[in-house]
Amino acid sequence: MTDKNSNGTLVKVSHVDKIFKRGSEEIHVLGGLDLDIPTGEFLALMGPSGSGKSTLLNLIGGLDRPSEGSVEVGGKRIDKLSERKLASWRARHVGLVFQFYNLMPVLSAQKNVELPLLLTKLSKAERKKRAAIALDIVGLSHRSGHYPRQLSGGEQQRTGIARAIVTDPTLLLCDEPTGDLDRKSGDEILDLLQALNKEQGKTIIMVTHDIHAAARASRTLYLNKGQLSVDPVD
Protein backbone atom coordinates (compact mmCIF):
# COMPACT_ATOMS: atom_id res chain seq x y z
CA MET A 1 0.00 0.00 0.00
CA THR A 2 1.31 3.46 -0.83
CA ASP A 3 1.54 5.74 2.14
CA LYS A 4 0.16 8.83 0.43
CA ASN A 5 -1.54 9.99 -2.70
CA SER A 6 0.19 12.26 -5.15
CA ASN A 7 -0.61 15.34 -3.01
CA GLY A 8 1.06 13.92 0.17
CA THR A 9 -2.31 13.30 1.77
CA LEU A 10 -2.31 10.20 3.92
CA VAL A 11 -5.89 10.34 5.16
CA LYS A 12 -8.79 11.55 3.06
CA VAL A 13 -12.25 11.67 4.63
CA SER A 14 -14.92 12.67 2.09
CA HIS A 15 -18.54 13.64 2.77
CA VAL A 16 -18.75 11.30 5.70
CA ASP A 17 -21.96 10.89 7.66
CA LYS A 18 -22.23 8.73 10.72
CA ILE A 19 -25.63 7.88 12.15
CA PHE A 20 -26.11 5.75 15.25
CA LYS A 21 -29.37 3.97 15.87
CA ARG A 22 -30.55 3.73 19.47
CA GLY A 23 -33.78 1.80 19.35
CA SER A 24 -36.05 3.75 17.01
CA GLU A 25 -34.04 6.93 17.42
CA GLU A 26 -31.35 8.03 14.94
CA ILE A 27 -28.42 10.08 16.23
CA HIS A 28 -26.53 12.02 13.56
CA VAL A 29 -23.00 12.35 14.92
CA LEU A 30 -21.13 13.40 11.78
CA GLY A 31 -22.69 15.17 8.81
CA GLY A 32 -21.01 15.55 5.42
CA LEU A 33 -17.57 15.81 6.99
CA ASP A 34 -14.45 16.34 4.89
CA LEU A 35 -10.91 16.10 6.18
CA ASP A 36 -7.47 15.73 4.59
CA ILE A 37 -4.48 14.81 6.73
CA PRO A 38 -1.04 14.97 5.12
CA THR A 39 1.63 12.42 5.89
CA GLY A 40 3.70 13.29 8.93
CA GLU A 41 1.17 15.63 10.49
CA PHE A 42 0.42 15.74 14.20
CA LEU A 43 -3.25 16.66 14.26
CA ALA A 44 -5.25 17.43 17.39
CA LEU A 45 -9.02 17.07 17.35
CA MET A 46 -10.90 19.01 20.00
CA GLY A 47 -14.54 19.60 20.74
CA PRO A 48 -17.21 19.18 23.38
CA SER A 49 -18.36 15.78 24.58
CA GLY A 50 -20.56 14.09 22.02
CA SER A 51 -19.24 16.17 19.15
CA GLY A 52 -18.02 13.09 17.31
CA LYS A 53 -14.26 13.25 17.88
CA SER A 54 -13.84 9.61 18.90
CA THR A 55 -16.30 8.59 16.18
CA LEU A 56 -14.15 10.30 13.55
CA LEU A 57 -11.05 8.68 15.02
CA ASN A 58 -12.73 5.26 14.86
CA LEU A 59 -13.67 5.78 11.21
CA ILE A 60 -10.12 6.74 10.26
CA GLY A 61 -8.76 3.77 12.20
CA GLY A 62 -11.13 1.30 10.58
CA LEU A 63 -12.83 0.52 13.90
CA ASP A 64 -16.18 1.60 12.51
CA ARG A 65 -17.73 2.29 9.12
CA PRO A 66 -19.33 5.54 7.88
CA SER A 67 -23.05 5.59 7.14
CA GLU A 68 -22.29 7.64 4.03
CA GLY A 69 -19.13 8.89 2.33
CA SER A 70 -15.66 7.44 2.10
CA VAL A 71 -12.52 7.06 4.16
CA GLU A 72 -9.26 6.67 2.33
CA VAL A 73 -5.95 5.96 4.07
CA GLY A 74 -2.79 5.68 2.02
CA GLY A 75 -4.85 5.60 -1.15
CA LYS A 76 -6.96 2.64 0.05
CA ARG A 77 -10.73 2.86 0.61
CA ILE A 78 -10.83 1.26 4.00
CA ASP A 79 -14.61 1.64 4.25
CA LYS A 80 -14.89 -0.88 1.42
CA LEU A 81 -12.73 -3.58 2.98
CA SER A 82 -14.25 -6.78 4.39
CA GLU A 83 -14.06 -7.25 8.16
CA ARG A 84 -11.22 -9.71 7.78
CA LYS A 85 -9.19 -7.48 5.47
CA LEU A 86 -9.91 -4.47 7.65
CA ALA A 87 -8.56 -6.31 10.71
CA SER A 88 -5.45 -7.21 8.75
CA TRP A 89 -5.09 -3.63 7.56
CA ARG A 90 -5.39 -2.28 11.10
CA ALA A 91 -2.78 -4.72 12.35
CA ARG A 92 -0.29 -3.45 9.79
CA HIS A 93 -1.10 0.24 9.51
CA VAL A 94 -2.71 1.53 12.67
CA GLY A 95 -1.34 2.00 16.18
CA LEU A 96 -3.92 2.76 18.86
CA VAL A 97 -3.37 4.59 22.13
CA PHE A 98 -6.31 4.63 24.53
CA GLN A 99 -7.22 6.94 27.38
CA PHE A 100 -7.31 4.10 29.89
CA TYR A 101 -4.32 2.26 28.39
CA ASN A 102 -6.27 -1.02 27.84
CA LEU A 103 -3.34 -3.25 28.64
CA MET A 104 -3.90 -6.96 29.32
CA PRO A 105 -3.53 -7.24 33.12
CA VAL A 106 -2.31 -10.84 32.92
CA LEU A 107 0.57 -10.03 30.58
CA SER A 108 3.84 -8.32 31.40
CA ALA A 109 4.74 -5.06 29.70
CA GLN A 110 6.93 -7.00 27.26
CA LYS A 111 4.13 -9.41 26.38
CA ASN A 112 1.60 -6.60 26.05
CA VAL A 113 3.86 -4.86 23.56
CA GLU A 114 4.33 -8.13 21.65
CA LEU A 115 0.58 -8.61 21.20
CA PRO A 116 0.25 -6.95 17.76
CA LEU A 117 3.29 -8.94 16.58
CA LEU A 118 1.42 -12.21 17.18
CA LEU A 119 -0.49 -11.35 14.02
CA THR A 120 2.72 -11.31 11.98
CA LYS A 121 4.91 -14.15 10.81
CA LEU A 122 7.82 -13.09 12.99
CA SER A 123 9.58 -15.69 15.09
CA LYS A 124 9.38 -15.65 18.87
CA ALA A 125 12.91 -14.26 19.10
CA GLU A 126 12.17 -11.52 16.57
CA ARG A 127 8.95 -10.57 18.35
CA LYS A 128 10.83 -10.29 21.62
CA LYS A 129 13.54 -8.17 20.01
CA ARG A 130 11.11 -5.73 18.41
CA ALA A 131 9.11 -5.37 21.59
CA ALA A 132 12.34 -4.63 23.47
CA ILE A 133 13.18 -1.92 20.93
CA ALA A 134 9.72 -0.36 21.30
CA LEU A 135 10.01 -0.37 25.08
CA ASP A 136 13.43 1.20 24.78
CA ILE A 137 12.03 3.99 22.62
CA VAL A 138 9.48 4.83 25.29
CA GLY A 139 12.08 4.52 28.04
CA LEU A 140 10.68 1.42 29.77
CA SER A 141 13.30 -1.26 29.09
CA HIS A 142 13.89 -1.63 32.83
CA ARG A 143 10.20 -2.41 33.46
CA SER A 144 9.63 -4.93 30.67
CA GLY A 145 8.95 -7.79 33.07
CA HIS A 146 6.46 -5.87 35.20
CA TYR A 147 2.73 -6.26 35.03
CA PRO A 148 0.38 -3.31 34.49
CA ARG A 149 -0.64 -3.32 38.13
CA GLN A 150 3.01 -2.72 39.01
CA LEU A 151 3.32 0.30 36.70
CA SER A 152 2.27 3.89 37.27
CA GLY A 153 -0.33 5.50 35.02
CA GLY A 154 2.33 7.20 32.96
CA GLU A 155 4.30 3.96 32.61
CA GLN A 156 1.20 2.09 31.55
CA GLN A 157 0.47 4.70 28.90
CA ARG A 158 4.06 4.51 27.65
CA THR A 159 3.64 0.74 27.42
CA GLY A 160 0.46 1.41 25.43
CA ILE A 161 2.42 3.66 23.10
CA ALA A 162 5.13 1.02 22.72
CA ARG A 163 2.41 -1.50 21.77
CA ALA A 164 1.04 1.02 19.27
CA ILE A 165 4.39 1.60 17.54
CA VAL A 166 5.85 -1.92 17.66
CA THR A 167 4.54 -2.79 14.18
CA ASP A 168 5.87 0.51 12.78
CA PRO A 169 2.37 1.58 11.72
CA THR A 170 1.49 4.20 9.15
CA LEU A 171 -0.82 6.02 11.53
CA LEU A 172 -0.97 6.57 15.29
CA LEU A 173 -4.44 7.24 16.67
CA CYS A 174 -4.59 8.53 20.23
CA ASP A 175 -7.88 8.92 22.05
CA GLU A 176 -7.35 11.20 25.06
CA PRO A 177 -3.89 9.76 25.76
CA THR A 178 -3.30 12.07 28.73
CA GLY A 179 -6.88 12.04 29.99
CA ASP A 180 -6.15 9.81 32.95
CA LEU A 181 -2.74 11.21 33.86
CA ASP A 182 -1.43 13.99 36.05
CA ARG A 183 0.21 16.99 34.39
CA LYS A 184 3.76 15.70 34.73
CA SER A 185 3.01 12.25 33.37
CA GLY A 186 0.86 13.77 30.69
CA ASP A 187 3.69 16.03 29.58
CA GLU A 188 6.02 13.02 29.37
CA ILE A 189 3.55 11.28 27.09
CA LEU A 190 3.16 14.34 24.92
CA ASP A 191 6.96 14.67 24.71
CA LEU A 192 7.07 11.12 23.48
CA LEU A 193 4.36 11.64 20.90
CA GLN A 194 6.06 14.78 19.65
CA ALA A 195 9.36 12.90 19.37
CA LEU A 196 7.66 10.11 17.40
CA ASN A 197 6.20 12.71 15.09
CA LYS A 198 9.29 14.84 14.61
CA GLU A 199 12.05 12.24 14.73
CA GLN A 200 10.31 9.27 13.14
CA GLY A 201 7.81 11.10 10.98
CA LYS A 202 4.80 9.31 12.45
CA THR A 203 1.42 10.70 11.41
CA ILE A 204 -0.53 11.19 14.63
CA ILE A 205 -4.16 12.05 15.16
CA MET A 206 -4.94 12.87 18.78
CA VAL A 207 -8.36 13.47 20.30
CA THR A 208 -8.10 15.63 23.39
CA HIS A 209 -9.96 17.97 25.69
CA ASP A 210 -6.72 19.46 26.93
CA ILE A 211 -5.59 22.67 25.20
CA HIS A 212 -2.07 22.15 26.54
CA ALA A 213 -1.97 18.79 24.83
CA ALA A 214 -3.42 20.25 21.64
CA ALA A 215 -0.73 22.91 21.67
CA ARG A 216 1.84 20.17 21.02
CA ALA A 217 0.19 19.31 17.73
CA SER A 218 1.10 20.94 14.41
CA ARG A 219 -2.57 21.60 13.65
CA THR A 220 -5.73 21.63 15.73
CA LEU A 221 -9.21 21.21 14.39
CA TYR A 222 -12.45 21.65 16.29
CA LEU A 223 -15.44 19.39 15.93
CA ASN A 224 -18.89 20.61 16.81
CA LYS A 225 -22.22 19.04 15.91
CA GLY A 226 -20.53 16.79 13.37
CA GLN A 227 -18.74 19.60 11.56
CA LEU A 228 -15.04 20.52 11.53
CA SER A 229 -13.64 24.04 11.82
CA VAL A 230 -10.33 25.65 12.52
CA ASP A 231 -11.89 27.91 15.11
CA PRO A 232 -12.54 26.79 18.64
CA VAL A 233 -16.15 26.22 19.68
CA ASP A 234 -17.54 29.07 21.81
Binding site: L63, E83, R84, A91, F98, M104, P105, V106, L107, P116
Partner: protein, 383 residues
Protein backbone atom coordinates in the same frame (compact mmCIF):
# COMPACT_ATOMS: atom_id res chain seq x y z
CA UNK B 1 1.39 -22.41 19.52
CA UNK B 2 2.18 -18.70 19.82
CA UNK B 3 -1.29 -18.06 21.19
CA UNK B 4 -0.91 -20.66 23.96
CA UNK B 5 0.65 -18.26 26.42
CA UNK B 6 -2.11 -15.74 25.71
CA UNK B 7 -4.75 -18.39 26.38
CA UNK B 8 -3.11 -19.78 29.51
CA UNK B 9 -2.33 -16.28 30.81
CA UNK B 10 -6.03 -15.51 30.67
CA UNK B 11 -6.66 -18.38 33.07
CA UNK B 12 -4.69 -16.44 35.70
CA UNK B 13 -7.20 -13.62 35.56
CA UNK B 14 -9.52 -14.87 38.29
CA UNK B 15 -7.51 -17.62 39.86
CA UNK B 16 -10.09 -18.72 42.42
CA UNK B 17 -12.89 -18.92 39.92
CA UNK B 18 -10.71 -20.72 37.39
CA UNK B 19 -9.45 -23.07 40.09
CA UNK B 20 -12.93 -23.94 41.29
CA UNK B 21 -14.14 -24.54 37.76
CA UNK B 22 -11.18 -26.78 37.04
CA UNK B 23 -11.81 -28.68 40.25
CA UNK B 24 -15.47 -29.25 39.43
CA UNK B 25 -14.53 -30.53 35.99
CA UNK B 26 -11.87 -32.70 37.58
CA UNK B 27 -14.40 -34.26 39.94
CA UNK B 28 -16.75 -34.96 37.02
CA UNK B 29 -14.00 -36.84 35.22
CA UNK B 30 -12.91 -38.70 38.35
CA UNK B 31 -16.50 -39.93 38.59
CA UNK B 32 -16.50 -40.74 34.90
CA UNK B 33 -13.33 -42.81 35.18
CA UNK B 34 -14.29 -44.61 38.36
CA UNK B 35 -17.84 -45.41 37.30
CA UNK B 36 -16.51 -46.60 33.96
CA UNK B 37 -14.27 -49.05 35.79
CA UNK B 38 -17.28 -50.27 37.78
CA UNK B 39 -19.33 -50.65 34.61
CA UNK B 40 -16.43 -52.49 33.04
CA UNK B 41 -16.33 -54.83 36.04
CA UNK B 42 -19.94 -55.79 35.35
CA UNK B 43 -19.38 -56.03 31.60
CA UNK B 44 -16.00 -57.73 31.60
CA UNK B 45 -17.29 -61.25 31.82
CA UNK B 46 -19.60 -60.54 28.92
CA UNK B 47 -16.79 -59.10 26.79
CA UNK B 48 -14.34 -61.96 27.23
CA UNK B 49 -17.07 -64.59 27.09
CA UNK B 50 -16.33 -67.01 24.32
CA UNK B 51 -18.42 -66.39 21.26
CA UNK B 52 -18.06 -70.13 20.67
CA UNK B 53 -19.23 -71.18 24.16
CA UNK B 54 -22.70 -71.92 25.48
CA UNK B 55 -23.85 -72.36 29.06
CA UNK B 56 -26.33 -75.15 29.70
CA UNK B 57 -28.14 -75.01 33.03
CA UNK B 58 -31.31 -76.46 34.60
CA UNK B 59 -34.32 -74.91 32.93
CA UNK B 60 -35.99 -74.03 36.24
CA UNK B 61 -33.07 -72.42 38.03
CA UNK B 62 -29.31 -72.31 38.16
CA UNK B 63 -29.38 -73.77 41.67
CA UNK B 64 -31.05 -76.94 40.38
CA UNK B 65 -28.50 -79.62 39.47
CA UNK B 66 -28.03 -81.62 36.31
CA UNK B 67 -26.80 -85.20 35.88
CA UNK B 68 -23.12 -85.67 35.11
CA UNK B 69 -24.23 -88.10 32.45
CA UNK B 70 -25.57 -85.27 30.29
CA UNK B 71 -22.02 -84.45 29.21
CA UNK B 72 -21.69 -87.36 26.84
CA UNK B 73 -25.12 -86.71 25.33
CA UNK B 74 -24.32 -83.04 24.82
CA UNK B 75 -21.05 -83.88 23.08
CA UNK B 76 -22.92 -86.07 20.59
CA UNK B 77 -25.07 -83.18 19.37
CA UNK B 78 -24.25 -81.81 15.93
CA UNK B 79 -22.27 -78.59 16.22
CA UNK B 80 -20.79 -79.36 19.64
CA UNK B 81 -17.01 -79.75 19.93
CA UNK B 82 -16.79 -80.60 23.59
CA UNK B 83 -18.38 -79.93 26.95
CA UNK B 84 -17.33 -79.66 30.58
CA UNK B 85 -19.32 -79.32 33.78
CA UNK B 86 -18.93 -76.95 36.73
CA UNK B 87 -20.60 -76.78 40.12
CA UNK B 88 -21.11 -74.02 42.64
CA UNK B 89 -19.28 -74.85 45.87
CA UNK B 90 -20.45 -71.78 47.80
CA UNK B 91 -18.10 -72.02 50.76
CA UNK B 92 -16.79 -69.34 53.11
CA UNK B 93 -13.13 -68.53 53.59
CA UNK B 94 -12.70 -67.24 57.15
CA UNK B 95 -15.74 -64.90 57.00
CA UNK B 96 -18.64 -64.24 54.61
CA UNK B 97 -17.26 -60.93 53.39
CA UNK B 98 -14.30 -62.80 51.85
CA UNK B 99 -16.55 -64.01 49.04
CA UNK B 100 -15.08 -65.59 45.94
CA UNK B 101 -16.28 -68.25 43.50
CA UNK B 102 -15.21 -71.82 44.24
CA UNK B 103 -15.87 -74.18 41.32
CA UNK B 104 -15.34 -77.94 41.24
CA UNK B 105 -14.31 -78.84 37.68
CA UNK B 106 -12.44 -81.52 35.74
CA UNK B 107 -8.89 -80.12 35.35
CA UNK B 108 -8.08 -81.47 31.87
CA UNK B 109 -11.40 -80.23 30.53
CA UNK B 110 -10.89 -76.79 32.11
CA UNK B 111 -7.63 -76.20 30.25
CA UNK B 112 -9.23 -77.27 27.02
CA UNK B 113 -12.41 -75.24 27.44
CA UNK B 114 -10.88 -72.05 28.85
CA UNK B 115 -7.64 -71.25 26.98
CA UNK B 116 -7.74 -67.76 28.50
CA UNK B 117 -6.56 -69.26 31.81
CA UNK B 118 -2.79 -69.45 31.49
CA UNK B 119 -1.01 -71.95 33.77
CA UNK B 120 2.55 -73.21 33.66
CA UNK B 121 2.97 -76.85 32.63
CA UNK B 122 4.66 -77.57 35.93
CA UNK B 123 1.71 -76.31 37.94
CA UNK B 124 -0.78 -78.06 35.66
CA UNK B 125 1.02 -81.31 36.43
CA UNK B 126 1.06 -80.50 40.15
CA UNK B 127 -2.69 -80.01 40.11
CA UNK B 128 -3.29 -83.22 38.24
CA UNK B 129 -1.15 -85.05 40.81
CA UNK B 130 -2.79 -83.56 43.90
CA UNK B 131 -6.39 -84.65 44.50
CA UNK B 132 -6.99 -81.95 47.09
CA UNK B 133 -5.13 -79.44 44.96
CA UNK B 134 -6.71 -76.20 43.77
CA UNK B 135 -6.00 -73.83 40.90
CA UNK B 136 -6.55 -70.20 41.89
CA UNK B 137 -6.51 -66.98 39.92
CA UNK B 138 -3.66 -64.52 40.37
CA UNK B 139 -6.03 -61.81 41.54
CA UNK B 140 -7.45 -64.06 44.24
CA UNK B 141 -4.02 -65.17 45.36
CA UNK B 142 -2.80 -61.58 45.68
CA UNK B 143 -5.97 -60.56 47.48
CA UNK B 144 -5.32 -62.89 50.40
CA UNK B 145 -1.56 -63.06 50.13
CA UNK B 146 -1.54 -66.78 49.50
CA UNK B 147 1.51 -68.65 48.29
CA UNK B 148 1.93 -71.91 46.43
CA UNK B 149 1.94 -74.70 48.96
CA UNK B 150 -0.53 -73.02 51.34
CA UNK B 151 -3.37 -75.03 52.82
CA UNK B 152 -6.67 -73.24 52.35
CA UNK B 153 -9.58 -74.15 54.64
CA UNK B 154 -13.07 -73.46 53.26
CA UNK B 155 -16.20 -73.80 55.37
CA UNK B 156 -18.93 -75.38 53.23
CA UNK B 157 -22.42 -73.95 53.43
CA UNK B 158 -23.92 -76.32 50.84
CA UNK B 159 -21.74 -79.38 50.59
CA UNK B 160 -21.10 -81.18 53.83
CA UNK B 161 -18.46 -83.94 53.89
CA UNK B 162 -19.12 -87.65 54.19
CA UNK B 163 -17.32 -87.63 57.54
CA UNK B 164 -19.84 -85.07 58.82
CA UNK B 165 -17.45 -82.18 58.79
CA UNK B 166 -18.03 -78.95 56.94
CA UNK B 167 -14.47 -77.70 56.71
CA UNK B 168 -12.75 -78.65 53.47
CA UNK B 169 -8.99 -78.24 53.22
CA UNK B 170 -7.38 -77.58 49.88
CA UNK B 171 -3.75 -77.38 48.76
CA UNK B 172 -2.81 -74.42 46.63
CA UNK B 173 -0.68 -76.01 43.92
CA UNK B 174 -1.34 -73.89 40.84
CA UNK B 175 -2.11 -70.33 39.87
CA UNK B 176 -3.53 -69.01 36.60
CA UNK B 177 -3.16 -65.66 34.90
CA UNK B 178 -5.54 -64.17 32.37
CA UNK B 179 -4.57 -64.19 28.72
CA UNK B 180 -6.51 -60.93 28.29
CA UNK B 181 -6.86 -57.91 30.53
CA UNK B 182 -10.53 -58.55 31.27
CA UNK B 183 -10.09 -62.21 32.23
CA UNK B 184 -11.47 -63.03 35.66
CA UNK B 185 -8.59 -64.10 37.91
CA UNK B 186 -10.65 -64.30 41.07
CA UNK B 187 -11.76 -67.92 40.83
CA UNK B 188 -10.89 -70.98 42.91
CA UNK B 189 -11.02 -74.28 40.98
CA UNK B 190 -11.36 -77.53 42.88
CA UNK B 191 -10.79 -80.97 41.37
CA UNK B 192 -14.20 -82.46 40.64
CA UNK B 193 -13.18 -86.01 41.49
CA UNK B 194 -12.05 -84.97 44.96
CA UNK B 195 -15.24 -82.95 45.44
CA UNK B 196 -17.55 -85.71 44.25
CA UNK B 197 -15.92 -88.38 46.43
CA UNK B 198 -15.86 -86.24 49.54
CA UNK B 199 -19.30 -84.61 49.46
CA UNK B 200 -21.98 -86.16 51.59
CA UNK B 201 -24.77 -85.86 49.03
CA UNK B 202 -25.37 -85.10 45.39
CA UNK B 203 -22.88 -87.50 43.84
CA UNK B 204 -23.07 -87.47 40.09
CA UNK B 205 -24.87 -84.16 39.97
CA UNK B 206 -23.34 -80.98 38.63
CA UNK B 207 -24.31 -77.32 38.41
CA UNK B 208 -24.04 -76.40 34.74
CA UNK B 209 -22.25 -77.25 31.51
CA UNK B 210 -19.97 -75.11 29.40
CA UNK B 211 -20.17 -76.21 25.78
CA UNK B 212 -17.80 -75.30 22.95
CA UNK B 213 -19.47 -75.16 19.56
CA UNK B 214 -17.67 -75.38 16.23
CA UNK B 215 -19.48 -72.44 14.59
CA UNK B 216 -20.48 -69.39 16.67
CA UNK B 217 -23.00 -68.42 13.98
CA UNK B 218 -24.92 -71.59 14.83
CA UNK B 219 -25.10 -70.78 18.56
CA UNK B 220 -28.87 -70.38 18.64
CA UNK B 221 -29.41 -73.52 16.59
CA UNK B 222 -27.11 -75.68 18.73
CA UNK B 223 -28.58 -74.26 21.95
CA UNK B 224 -32.05 -75.24 20.74
CA UNK B 225 -30.79 -78.71 19.83
CA UNK B 226 -29.34 -79.20 23.30
CA UNK B 227 -32.59 -78.14 24.96
CA UNK B 228 -34.51 -80.40 22.63
CA UNK B 229 -32.30 -83.33 23.63
CA UNK B 230 -33.42 -82.99 27.25
CA UNK B 231 -36.95 -81.76 26.70
CA UNK B 232 -39.57 -83.69 28.68
CA UNK B 233 -36.85 -85.23 30.88
CA UNK B 234 -36.71 -84.92 34.67
CA UNK B 235 -34.07 -82.20 34.36
CA UNK B 236 -34.81 -80.03 31.35
CA UNK B 237 -32.13 -77.62 30.25
CA UNK B 238 -31.79 -74.03 29.14
CA UNK B 239 -28.84 -73.37 26.85
CA UNK B 240 -27.68 -69.87 25.92
CA UNK B 241 -24.49 -68.12 24.80
CA UNK B 242 -22.01 -67.54 27.62
CA UNK B 243 -22.15 -63.76 27.22
CA UNK B 244 -25.92 -63.69 27.64
CA UNK B 245 -25.65 -65.94 30.70
CA UNK B 246 -23.14 -63.60 32.36
CA UNK B 247 -25.15 -60.52 31.40
CA UNK B 248 -28.12 -62.10 33.13
CA UNK B 249 -26.25 -62.01 36.45
CA UNK B 250 -25.45 -58.32 36.09
CA UNK B 251 -29.04 -57.59 35.15
CA UNK B 252 -30.21 -59.11 38.42
CA UNK B 253 -28.73 -56.09 40.14
CA UNK B 254 -30.20 -53.72 37.64
CA UNK B 255 -29.38 -52.21 34.29
CA UNK B 256 -25.93 -51.18 35.45
CA UNK B 257 -24.98 -49.47 32.22
CA UNK B 258 -28.16 -47.40 32.26
CA UNK B 259 -27.74 -46.44 35.90
CA UNK B 260 -24.14 -45.38 35.37
CA UNK B 261 -25.02 -43.52 32.18
CA UNK B 262 -27.78 -41.64 33.99
CA UNK B 263 -25.48 -40.63 36.82
CA UNK B 264 -22.79 -39.50 34.41
CA UNK B 265 -25.26 -37.55 32.27
CA UNK B 266 -26.49 -35.66 35.31
CA UNK B 267 -22.95 -34.96 36.47
CA UNK B 268 -21.73 -33.78 33.08
CA UNK B 269 -24.80 -31.61 32.51
CA UNK B 270 -24.24 -29.89 35.84
CA UNK B 271 -20.55 -29.36 35.16
CA UNK B 272 -21.39 -28.04 31.71
CA UNK B 273 -23.51 -25.38 33.36
CA UNK B 274 -20.65 -24.49 35.70
CA UNK B 275 -18.09 -24.31 32.91
CA UNK B 276 -20.47 -22.44 30.64
CA UNK B 277 -21.18 -19.93 33.40
CA UNK B 278 -17.47 -19.40 33.95
CA UNK B 279 -16.89 -18.76 30.26
CA UNK B 280 -19.87 -16.43 30.04
CA UNK B 281 -18.56 -14.37 32.96
CA UNK B 282 -15.08 -14.39 31.47
CA UNK B 283 -16.28 -12.87 28.21
CA UNK B 284 -18.63 -10.42 29.91
CA UNK B 285 -15.87 -9.08 32.14
CA UNK B 286 -13.43 -8.77 29.27
CA UNK B 287 -15.60 -7.08 26.69
CA UNK B 288 -13.24 -4.12 26.59
CA UNK B 289 -10.13 -6.30 26.34
CA UNK B 290 -11.59 -8.38 23.54
CA UNK B 291 -12.49 -5.16 21.74
CA UNK B 292 -8.90 -3.99 22.09
CA UNK B 293 -7.65 -7.27 20.60
CA UNK B 294 -9.97 -6.75 17.66
CA UNK B 295 -8.90 -3.11 17.40
CA UNK B 296 -5.21 -4.03 17.12
CA UNK B 297 -6.04 -6.49 14.37
CA UNK B 298 -7.31 -9.81 15.74
CA UNK B 299 -10.03 -11.05 13.42
CA UNK B 300 -13.51 -12.04 14.56
CA UNK B 301 -12.57 -15.65 14.03
CA UNK B 302 -9.33 -15.13 15.93
CA UNK B 303 -11.19 -13.85 18.97
CA UNK B 304 -13.65 -16.74 18.68
CA UNK B 305 -10.69 -19.08 18.67
CA UNK B 306 -9.12 -17.44 21.72
CA UNK B 307 -12.29 -17.80 23.79
CA UNK B 308 -12.80 -21.40 22.69
CA UNK B 309 -9.13 -21.97 23.41
CA UNK B 310 -9.63 -20.76 26.98
CA UNK B 311 -12.63 -23.02 27.39
CA UNK B 312 -10.56 -25.94 26.13
CA UNK B 313 -7.65 -25.04 28.39
CA UNK B 314 -9.84 -25.05 31.51
CA UNK B 315 -11.65 -28.23 30.53
CA UNK B 316 -8.44 -29.95 29.46
CA UNK B 317 -6.64 -29.24 32.72
CA UNK B 318 -9.62 -30.36 34.80
CA UNK B 319 -10.41 -33.33 32.60
CA UNK B 320 -6.88 -34.70 32.42
CA UNK B 321 -6.41 -34.27 36.17
CA UNK B 322 -9.71 -36.05 36.70
CA UNK B 323 -8.89 -38.94 34.39
CA UNK B 324 -5.45 -39.24 35.95
CA UNK B 325 -6.87 -39.28 39.46
CA UNK B 326 -9.50 -41.82 38.41
CA UNK B 327 -6.78 -44.03 36.98
CA UNK B 328 -4.85 -43.79 40.24
CA UNK B 329 -7.91 -44.61 42.36
CA UNK B 330 -8.85 -47.53 40.13
CA UNK B 331 -5.31 -48.88 40.26
CA UNK B 332 -5.59 -48.97 44.05
CA UNK B 333 -7.88 -51.91 43.60
CA UNK B 334 -11.39 -53.26 43.70
CA UNK B 335 -13.46 -51.17 46.17
CA UNK B 336 -15.58 -54.25 46.98
CA UNK B 337 -12.47 -56.08 48.09
CA UNK B 338 -12.79 -58.91 45.60
CA UNK B 339 -16.40 -59.07 44.49
CA UNK B 340 -15.54 -57.67 41.11
CA UNK B 341 -13.87 -60.20 38.81
CA UNK B 342 -11.82 -57.43 37.24
CA UNK B 343 -11.37 -53.78 38.04
CA UNK B 344 -9.54 -51.46 35.68
CA UNK B 345 -10.06 -48.40 33.52
CA UNK B 346 -10.05 -49.48 29.87
CA UNK B 347 -7.79 -47.54 27.49
CA UNK B 348 -10.72 -47.09 25.12
CA UNK B 349 -12.67 -45.24 27.81
CA UNK B 350 -9.71 -42.97 28.51
CA UNK B 351 -9.89 -41.93 24.86
CA UNK B 352 -13.65 -41.46 25.25
CA UNK B 353 -12.87 -39.23 28.22
CA UNK B 354 -10.49 -37.13 26.14
CA UNK B 355 -13.12 -36.72 23.46
CA UNK B 356 -15.64 -35.70 26.12
CA UNK B 357 -13.17 -33.03 27.27
CA UNK B 358 -13.15 -31.49 23.81
CA UNK B 359 -16.92 -31.74 23.41
CA UNK B 360 -17.52 -30.20 26.82
CA UNK B 361 -15.09 -27.36 26.08
CA UNK B 362 -16.88 -26.60 22.84
CA UNK B 363 -20.38 -26.66 24.32
CA UNK B 364 -19.36 -24.55 27.33
CA UNK B 365 -17.45 -22.04 25.26
CA UNK B 366 -19.28 -21.67 21.97
CA UNK B 367 -21.97 -19.20 23.05
CA UNK B 368 -19.58 -16.80 24.82
CA UNK B 369 -17.11 -17.25 21.94
CA UNK B 370 -19.75 -16.27 19.43
CA UNK B 371 -20.64 -13.24 21.53
CA UNK B 372 -16.99 -12.24 21.52
CA UNK B 373 -16.82 -12.82 17.79
CA UNK B 374 -19.75 -10.51 17.17
CA UNK B 375 -18.52 -7.67 19.39
CA UNK B 376 -18.66 -4.30 17.66
CA UNK B 377 -15.32 -2.66 18.40
CA UNK B 378 -16.43 0.95 18.69
CA UNK B 379 -19.37 0.09 20.96
CA UNK B 380 -17.36 -2.29 23.10
CA UNK B 381 -14.51 0.16 23.59
CA UNK B 382 -16.96 2.63 25.05
CA UNK B 383 -17.99 0.15 27.79
Amino acid sequence: MKYFYLIFSSLKRKKIRTGLTIMSIMIAFVLFGYLTAIRQAFDAGVEVAGADRLIVRHKVSLIQLLPESYEARIERIDGVDNATHSTWFGGIYQEPKNFFAQIPIVPEELFDMFPEYVVSDEQKAAWLETRSGVLVGRGLMDRFGWKLGDRIPINATIWGKKDGGRTWEFDLVAVYDGAEKGTDTSQFFIRYDFFDETRAQGQGLVGWYTVRISDPDRAAEVAAAIDAEFANSAQETKAEPEGAFIQGFANQIGNIAFIIMSIMSAVFFTILLVAGNTMAYTVRERTNELAVLKAIGFTDRGVLGLVLGESLAITFVGGVLGLGLAWLLVSMGDPTDGSFPVFYLPTYDIFVGLILIVVMAFIAGIVPARQAQKLQIADALRR
